[in-house]
């Protein structure tokens, strides 16, 4: 199985036992997120997923800096050493 690094936004670490960065094994993004949901439980799920179990619309997930909406979303395949970043969508200017 492929080992992936996940980096959480500061605003999320209250739901990840204060972990900012962890390594998890998985083949695609969906699988990784399910593992995280199991590991961290309700608090984490409540922050990341909406009522229908989809990623909330104001949360962005990047793989090696690329927005997963430009990849295959939850189906995106992962390879060794990939880095996943989970942050809220922030407005710009």
């Amino acid at each position: 199985m492929t080992e992936i690094t996940i980096i959480f936004s500061h605003a999320l670490i209250s739901a990840t036992n204060n972990q900012r960065e962890i390594r998890v094994k998985g083949e695609n993004l969906g699988e990784i997120l399910n593992k995280l949901a199991k590991r961290y439980g309700n608090e984490f799920k409540k922050k990341l997923f909406d009522k229908e179990g989809k990623i909330k619309r104001f949360i962005n997930i990047y793989i090696n800096g690329k927005d997963t909406r430009f990849l295959d979303g939850l189906e995106t395949k992962l390879k060794k050493g990939d880095e996943i970043l989970i942050i809220p969508a922030v407005s710009g200017g």
Binding site: A11, D67, F70, L85, G93
Partner: protein
């Protein structure tokens, strides 16, 4: 502060995401405690700090005031005649201290940074916020880190550099730049005004609505045209009108909001036209309006809700329409705008000519940045001039008489 998604309230600390649901936070006020009257306001200084009670700063000592705001609301007879509108006004925000509306949110955010005893500030910018943050940081005596994507107009960079900011130019789009700034904010303890100070930052742009109300003799306009990138300003203007009504400073708010985007980067217009509730981001924006080139608008979904609720609309303008509009505005009203201003005027013109705006409607079109920031946007036929001999015959020759 209150969460936009779940409604949970949080103290006004240095946070920007809801601790319950991760949603964005907005500053809220107890309007019963605010006693702003028309008479009080009339006697105040002519800049955005006249609305101190409606801005999220506790101590006046922390105000960083370069004089942003209270810009002219220009009645546009000539432009109106050209496009068939009788009650047209331009909110001319090209005259702010650093020549764009961004001085409004930047001055509030940098003031808030002082209140939080921040060590360094910064921003992720499509060009205009860079200079605005840098100037206010200079006045506040704070170091400033400005993240910009490649391809920003040279004048905007020169201006920012002059204020002493550290410019970090990123190979990539604005959205990639923004993400880098996000990570830098967390790891290096920099307060990025439009990221981790976002709830405070956006409050500054509400003053664009307050001023228009005051300048229209305490009435709200029938329609506003707003150049839109992330959507933060549009949301703030909508909040501003609502707050003035809440305080009894204006009558019923019945203002239609129009979101104006550049064709090469119009994710909100696309969603609006397909009646979607999501905004599909654009990976590689391409437009002469660099300042509006945000492919993944953070406030896009909220803009869509506000457009629908106000019975407003969304429309895009091509590069040619944008530069034509810059010329039209300059030649009818004497206002020289950067492409973002061209976008709002181009969209205004389109809607008016299509008959979507009633000729009698009171319309306010926001022109948010100065043309001197991006002179290269204009076609060379109008900017080039060939020198002549200092002889009257040469003059006669060039004017063809």
């Amino acid at each position: 502060m209150k969460c936009r998604e779940c409604g949970e309230q949080h103290p006004a600390k240095r946070i920007y995401a809801c601790q319950e649901c991760f949603g964005p936070l907005d500053v809220i006020y107890d309007y019963n405690d605010i006693s702003l009257t028309k008479d009080v306001l009339r006697g105040r200084r002519q800049n955005l700090w006249r609305y101190f009670e409606l801005l999220p700063i506790n101590d006046r000592e922390n105000m960083i005031d370069l004089g942003a705001g209270y810009t002219t609301l220009q009645k546009c007879e000539e432009l109106g005649k050209r496009i068939g509108l009788k009650n047209l006004f331009i909110k001319n925000d090209t005259t702010n201290p650093t020549y764009s509306f961004k001085d409004r949110p930047a001055s509030v955010a940098v003031s808030k940074a002082l209140e939080f005893h921040t060590k360094a500030v910064g921003c992720a910018s499509t060009g205009n916020l860079a200079a605005a943050t840098a100037a206010h940081a200079a006045k506040a005596g704070l170091p400033c880190y400005v993240f910009i994507p490649e391809g920003i107009e040279p004048n905007k960079i020169a201006q920012t550099a002059a204020y002493g900011a550290r410019i970090i130019k990123v190979k990539g789009t604005y959205d990639e730049t923004n993400r880098l700034a996000y990570q830098a904010a967390e790891l290096y303890n920099i307060d990025i005004v439009n990221i981790n100070l976002r709830p405070y930052y956006v409050e500054g742009s509400k003053t664009l609505a307050y001023e228009v109300c005051e300048q229209l003799d305490w009435h709200t306009p029938d329609r506003v045209i707003i150049p839109t990138a992330s959507g933060a300003m549009l949301c703030a203007i909508e909040k501003g009108f609502r707050e003035f009504k809440e305080l009894g400073l204006t009558d019923e708010v019945d203002t239609k909001l129009v979101c104006a985007q550049a064709e090469g980067c119009a994710p909100i217009v696309k969603s609006f036209n397909t009646s979607s509730r999501q905004v599909q981001p654009i990976e590689n924006p391409e437009t002469v309006a660099h300042s509006l080139a945000i492919g993944d608008p953070g406030d896009g979904i909220y803009v869509l809700e506000k457009l629908r609720r106000s019975k407003g609309t969304a429309e895009a303008a091509t590069d040619k329409e944008i530069t034509d509009a810059i010329e039209l505005l300059a030649q009818t009203e004497g206002i020289f705008a950067e492409p973002a201003g061209g976008v709002s005027v181009a969209v205004l013109k389109k809607l008016a000519e299509r008959g979507e705006i009633d000729p009698n409607e009171k319309v306010v079109c926001y022109v948010t940045g100065n043309g001197l920031k991006s002179p290269e946007a204009l076609p060379s036929q109008i900017t080039e001039s060939i020198p002549i001999e200092p002889r009257i015959q040469s003059f006669a020759y060039v004017i063809g008489r």
